[in-house]
Amino acid sequence: MTISALAIVITLAQVMLGLAMAFAAWRIFLGPRAQDKVLGLDTLYVNTMLLLLLFGIQTGRTLYFEAALIIAVLGSVGTIALAKFLMRGEVIE
């Protein structure tokens, strides 16, 4: 009984995180300028990392933790690199 209730709660949380990922992807799609798209990409990375942690809770495997750690590292590095590119590479030549 408690296991099925917990399964429903975890699935509901996964649906909510998937909705959050859809909102971030929609901001990437319609974001008027480049920094909005970079911000949406950063949010998409964080939401994906949390969704992977939820998959890890659901299945009980530790594989998902390592994938979430890699996404957390690479997402922040990618955002910093894109911010530096916006600062130096596009507007001023």
């Binding site: 917990l6 959050a20 300028r33 910093i80 894109l82 530096k84 507007v91 001023i92």
Partner: protein, 131 residues
């Protein structure tokens, strides 16, 4: 997809509350990212997901794995610490880049030089729907 870890009742209640709370915070942050008008407002809501959402979901994960393996496992806080340290740095760099772009292109109501602190009410009418 409809499976769950085999936890006792108190751990199941705690994990469910933490996971649902973290997902709610993250969803609110993404809704704010979609709905706010200017970029300088939109920088703020995703940090709701990176601080409170990540912390609650990682707490639920720590409780789940610690109960499942009957020993204290704290390695998930590595993600929380790393995200909480790197998100302000990257978002501040992104905001600085946005201010720089607005200054050089002469758009928005960004002040011309960085000696005066920018007034927040002048950013309300800043760049909308360009490019």
């Amino acid at each position: 997809m409809n499976q769950a870890p085999d936890l006792p009742l108190w751990a199941a209640i705690l994990v469910g509350l933490f996971v649902l709370g973290g997902a709610t915070f993250t969803l609110i942050g993404s809704i704010g990212l979609l709905r706010f008008k200017t970029f300088y407002e939109r920088v703020h809501p995703p940090t709701l997901g990176t601080t409170m959402g990540a912390l609650l979901i990682i707490l639920g994960s720590v409780i789940c794995y610690s109960v499942l393996q009957t020993r204290l496992l704290l390695h998930e806080f590595l993600i929380a610490g790393f995200v909480a340290l790197t998100t302000p740095v990257s978002l501040m760099l992104l905001a600085r880049a946005a201010i720089y772009r607005d200054r050089t292109m002469g758009e928005g109501d960004v002040p011309a030089h960085s000696d005066g602190s920018p007034a927040p009410e002048t950013r309300e009418a800043a760049s909308e729907a360009r490019e």
